[in-house]
């Protein structure tokens, strides 16, 4: 009996290898002269063939009242105040490669807007280029694809034995180290690798409000426009009817850019 248990233990010990790699990314959003930073953690489960990317809210948006450290010229006093209410929750991008399904949790400014979007995995059509560069001690190769209204350029390496990438930058034969896009607004950078950090299962995200991605985008854009109109209407003397909503900036986030007819 004892030998039997021992025999059982040995194979179990061999198998109790940590199956989840944890990778830290930094997302930088640049709008005109300002940058906002958000942090993401990508977890790749090679045993269960799942991955989850957890993205934080832009850290600089959460607190107001500090002064700018680098000003534009000696007279600029760019101390600015953040929006009064902003959701601090994470956004999740979960993929189950075996079942070919994806679960995404997104929201627009307010936590009350949180939704769960279920879909099949939409692999980006990557074009692998010959260009390479060295990032850290790894050789990284260039690839491009058009994903969610933007053309992304990434550098990935297959020297780490991990396949995956932050956000929707999946499906490459390697790990994404750096990513930029054609509007120069967003940039991902890998900052830390924790290979085989845990052995467990990545939990599928859940939220009671379920919708489709297109519905979510439409609703987000409509609500943002209404908020802008509302803010204008508080100003005396403004003729709301004179304002052309369609002359506003195109509303954009990481996940979409507004399309205007």
């Amino acid at each position: 009996m004892k030998i039997f248990f021992l025999l059982l233990l040995i194979p179990c010990y061999c198998l109790s290898q940590n199956n989840i790699s944890s990778l830290n990314y930094e997302l930088t959003r640049t709008v005109e002269l300002l940058t906002f930073n958000a942090y993401g953690v990508l977890k790749v489960d090679f045993k269960n063939k799942t991955s989850n990317f957890k993205l934080s809210q832009y850290v600089n948006k959460l607190k107001g009242g500090d002064f700018v450290k680098s000003s534009l010229n000696e007279n600029d006093s760019l101390e600015v105040i953040g929006p009064k209410v902003i959701c601090r929750d994470y956004k999740f991008y979960y993929n189950d490669f075996k079942k070919d399904s994806t679960y995404t949790i997104l929201y627009n400014t307010y936590c009350k807007n949180k939704v769960l979007i279920k879909d099949t995995i939409n692999y980006p059509k990557w074009e692998i280029k010959d260009e390479c560069k060295k990032i850290g001690k790894y050789n990284a190769q260039k690839a491009t694809a058009f994903i969610n209204d933007r053309t992304w350029t990434v550098y990935f390496t297959n020297e780490l034995g991990i396949n995956g990438g932050p956000w929707r930058l999946i499906g490459l034969p390697g790990l994404v180290l750096e990513a930029t896009e054609n509007t120069s607004t967003y940039e991902f950078k890998l900052t830390e690798i924790n290979k085989s950090s845990e052995s467990s299962k990545i939990i599928k995200p859940y939220h009671k409000n379920q919708t489709t991605f297109n519905e979510f985008v439409e609703k987000s854009i409509k609500e943002s426009k209404e908020r802008e109109l509302f803010l204008f209407s508080k100003i005396p003397g403004v003729i709301i009817g004179e304002i052309d909503i369609n002359s506003f900036h195109l509303f954009e986030t990481l996940d979409y850019i507004e399309k205007r007819k």
């Binding site: 850290g136 034995g161 085989s196 052309d244």
Partner: protein
């Protein structure tokens, strides 16, 4: 010759071969682990043999893979990668065309302990930039074709309010200090010069900045109260640019109406300049000075305590209508602003102003008095021409003596002359002509030294000096004192003020972000008032009885102020106090009497803010102040201020105690598109100058005297704004109710207690349809009730409704039609006024040119009557209005 069956085979072989020629090489196979289990999800990579770059790849599902090579290779490596398994590799030398390679892979588990924790592969995380969300507005996002000057855009920005009459800008409820151009303060407090004149096309971005510090050495140390707006100019416009507007038209009485305006903006690295020249006679005030109404611009409000008093008041043009309808003007305005950056340390700025205007008005004052059961009426039919002229120059020098110290010097010289000739017909039978000549010479200097002691402490020392002389001369023809013997009466008055203040301030902030200030200072305020009322004829002058005033009023103050701002969690407390030693003296040369008083004062105040949650907060304030209010009531002997009124005082150096409390609740829910503000304010002033008026049909004598009695005022206000989704419209409501209690004496009565109540409510509805047409409607109702002890109640109710139709029929066109309906007295529905205006704007493709066709007052309303009630009278004020006019305006940008 081959047999037919072989030909068929050959044909099929050729067919198969040809089909494989069309495709490139195919590589396929299975991927399993050592136990023959299919590996579900793997990557198949194709690499050039002599490179580690991936050339092509595909994803293998359920243990099977197939990849069609798109390019030709000499030697390739086929790699299979599956997380958790050792990568499988196979080399294919000279992969043949039309060949299918079947390669099965069996992968071994990767058992190497990969504990490569904390591998940082990028140099360093970007240093955490503490650049917060800027409230930075991109001008183009807010344009819709209807704006021309940058003020039109600023009005639309969320959080920003612009006062229609003065152009003053408020950001999040706080008045803004400055409007800077690329960080440079060109306009000072008179920022309306920039916002009213700079063309929208010159500006790229508008930044609204809270906790603004004009002095960069005080950033982070100074209490964060100030707010500012920065205009970022378009890059590449580092040259001269500007615009010219030319408008010409015709008015009802066949007079020409003109509106000409030219602006020039020049920017180079060391020199920034902005100049404007304008002329108009359609009621627009392009200058920052308001000679029409009572409204003071921000600078005048701040400077009030340094200015002398205008004893004989200038003509007032009361109005409930938009100033533009009733300001019958003829204004020339010129302004030049320049900023020179001499070197890294030295900056010089200069502002020059010139205003020349002529405001005409036909006014009728009809007053019905009911005093002690007796009633009588007075009427004054006045034809006025107010001609103000102003020359002013400002100079500012800023010198950075070192990285932590700044020296600033400011100089203002202003010369203003206002000539107001008018003719009056009083009570339908007496006619007079009057001429008021007021001059004002103002010189003001300030020297300020700032030293930054550390990141958290700063010290300032300042010296301020000003001189203001206001000589006035009021002449009335024929004499009202003695019309038989004299031709005219002349009232001369001269008030001069000399002010000197020295102050030192210590400012700091603590590690917990609490802020404090302590200051010590002294003020010497010397005033001189001389006046003489005399009647004149060819033979000589005769001074009226009690017609001379000659006095000196001096006020010496030493003070110590302190304030502290605590921030703890949801609370923000700002207590402050002021200790003062006040010494006052009035020396009356005429009677050779001296009146002195010395006081030690302590005046505390506190502001409390409690943040209930992210979207609501409570605010409370309490304030105690003691002030001397005798400046306006210094002269004991009479001064004639218009054809029927003379004023005198019984001065008193007693102080007024003012105690006020305020409380408000703010709810700003951007998610539900709802904003609510409720507030209450109570103010009690103990110690006031009350009026003792003796009124008869021809003259009114007002005497001011001091009583340690109360006047108080209680005010409630409520406002709410909501965007209603299904109506695609915004609804806004504003209500205000106030009760004032005050005392006075009329025609030798006892001290009467009076109460006046005022209620005003406004409802505004604005649509935001995505159609070519939109509407806006505002309805406004006011009620005022005045009452005095044991006497009648005077009630007046008025109504006003404005309706606008906004049309955008095509991209280059914009049409605005508006109607303004007024009913000044609900009891007299037949006395109503309707103003109709229309404007059509066309902007052709080249965008440098714009045309406007404007029609104002289409129904040609010529007079407007306004009614006011007080506790003993009903006053009807009738004024003429700018007649109907049509104008074509062309604007060109360069």
């Amino acid at each position: 010759m081959l047999p037919f069956f072989m030909l068929k085979k050959l044909f099929f072989i050729i067919l198969i071969l040809s089909s494989t020629i069309a495709y490139s090489q195919t590589i396929l196979g299975t991927i399993t682990d050592v136990e023959q289990n299919n590996l579900d999800y793997s990557y198949v990579l194709i690499k050039d043999f002599d490179s580690t770059n991936v050339k092509e790849y595909s994803i293998a599902r359920k243990g099977k893979y197939e990849i069609d090579l798109k390019k030709k290779y000499l030697k390739i490596v086929v790699e299979i990668q599956s997380n958790g398994y050792v990568t499988g590799k196979r080399v294919i030398d000279n992969p043949q065309k039309n060949k299918t390679y079947t390669i099965d892979f069996i992968l071994e588990k990767d058992t190497t302990t990969n504990k490569l924790d904390e591998v940082i592969i990028t140099a360093k995380r970007k240093p955490f930039k503490i650049k917060k969300d800027t409230v930075s507005y991109n001008v183009n996002s807010y344009r819709d074709g209807s704006e021309r000057k940058i003020e039109d855009i600023i009005k639309k920005l969320p959080g920003i309010e612009v006062d229609k009459n003065t152009g003053a800008i408020k950001y999040k409820g706080k008045p803004i200090e400055n409007v800077t151009l690329d960080g440079d303060n060109l306009f000072g407090h008179n920022y309306t010069l920039g916002t009213k004149n700079i063309n929208v096309d010159m500006v790229e971005q508008i930044e609204a900045i809270e906790n603004y510090s004009e002095n960069p050495l005080l950033k982070g140390i100074e209490k964060g109260d100030k707010v500012s707006i920065n205009l970022k100019l378009k890059k590449g416009k580092f040259n001269f640019s500007g615009n010219i507007d030319f408008g010409s038209g015709i008015s009802e009485n066949l007079n020409e109406v003109l509106d000409i305006n030219a602006n020039l903006l020049g920017i180079t690295k060391a020199y920034k300049t902005f100049a404007t020249l304008s002329y108009n006679n359609i009621g627009i005030n392009r200058s920052p000075f308001n000679y029409f109404g009572f409204s003071q611009n921000r600078e005048q409000f701040i400077e009030k305590r340094f200015l002398a008093k205008r004893i004989i008041p200038e003509t007032s043009f009361l109005n409930t209508l938009d100033e533009e309808r009733v300001n019958i003007n003829n204004q020339y305005f010129g302004n030049y602003n320049a900023l020179f950056k001499i070197n890294k340390r030295l900056k010089i700025k200069t502002n020059l102003y010139y205003v020349n205007d002529k405001i005409t008005s036909e006014q009728l004052f009809e007053n019905q008095f009911i005093i002690d059961g007796q009633s009588f009426t007075t009427t004054d039919d006045i034809s006025i021409e107010k001609k103000p002229k102003q020359y002013r120059g400002d100079l500012e020098v800023k010198y950075n003596a070192s990285k932590t110290s700044l020296l600033e010097y400011n100089l203002t010289i202003q010369q203003e002359n206002i000539q107001t000739p008018s003719s009056v017909v009083s009570n339908n039978d007496n006619s007079f002509t009057t001429l008021l000549n007021s001059e004002s010479f103002y010189l003001r200097q300030k020297l300020l030294f700032t030293k930054k002691i550390s990141d958290k402490k700063a010290f300032q020392f300042s010296v301020f000096q000003s001189t203001n002389n206001i000589p006035q001369n009021f002449q009335i023809n024929p004499s009202i004192i003695d019309p038989i013997n004299y031709e005219n009466d002349i009232q001369k008055s001269e008030y001069s003020k000399n002010y000197l203040e020295v102050q030192s301030i210590l400012l700091g902030s603590t590690t917990k972000k609490n802020k404090y200030t302590f200051s010590v200072g002294g003020i010497i305020d010397n005033n001189k008032l001389q006046s003489e009322l005399f009647s004149q004829n060819l033979a000589g002058n005769n001074t009226a009885e009690n017609g001379i005033n000659n006095l000196r009023y001096s006020k010496k103050t030493m003070y110590q102020l302190g304030s502290y701002q605590f921030n703890t969690g949801k609370w923000k407390l700002s207590p402050s106090y002021r200790f003062r030693y006040l010494d006052q003296e009035i020396y009356n040369k005429e009677s050779n009497t001296k009146n002195t008083q010395t006081n030690f004062l302590f005046e505390p105040s506190i502001n409390i803010k409690y943040k209930l949650n992210e979207i609501s907060s409570f605010l409370g304030t309490a304030n105690y102040e003691q002030s001397s209010i005798v400046d306006n009531y210094l002269f004991q002997n009479q001064i004639l201020i218009n054809n029927r009124t003379s004023v005198s005082n019984i001065p008193s150096l007693e102080l007024q105690e003012a105690l006020s409390y305020g409380f408000s609740y703010l709810h700003d829910d951007l998610y539900n598109l709802l904003e609510v503000a409720i507030g209450m304010n109570y103010q009690n002033r103990n110690g006031n100058f009350f009026t003792n008026s003796t009124i008869n049909q021809n003259t009114t004598q007002i005497n001011y005297f001091f009583l340690p009695q109360d006047n108080n005022n209680l005010n409630f206000n409520f406002s709410a704004t909501k965007y209603i989704r299904f109506l695609e419209s915004t609804v806004k409501s504003n209500s205000n109710y106030s009760i004032s209690r005050y005392k006075n004496i009329v025609n030798n009565s006892e001290l009467r207690n009076n109460e006046s109540r005022f209620f005003n409510t406004q409802l505004n509805f604005r649509t935001a349809f995505r159609l070519f047409v939109n509407f806006e409607n505002t309805i406004n109702f006011s009620q005022s009730i005045s009452q005095s002890d044991n006497s009648n109640e005077f009630i007046n109710e008025s109504l006003n409704n404005t309706f606008k139709i906004i049309l955008k029929p095509a991209k280059k066109w914009f049409v605005l039609l508006s109607s303004d309906y007024f009913l000044p007295n609900l009891k007299q529905k037949s006395e109503n006024y309707m103003f109709l205006d229309a404007s059509v704007r066309f902007r052709p493709k080249n965008k440098r040119l714009e045309f406007n066709l404007i029609a104002k007052n289409l129904l040609n309303e010529t007079n407007f009557e306004q009614i006011q009630t007080s506790d003993f009278s009903t006053n009807i004020y009738r004024t003429n209005i700018l007649p109907r006019y049509y104008m074509l305006n062309m604007s060109y940008d360069f």
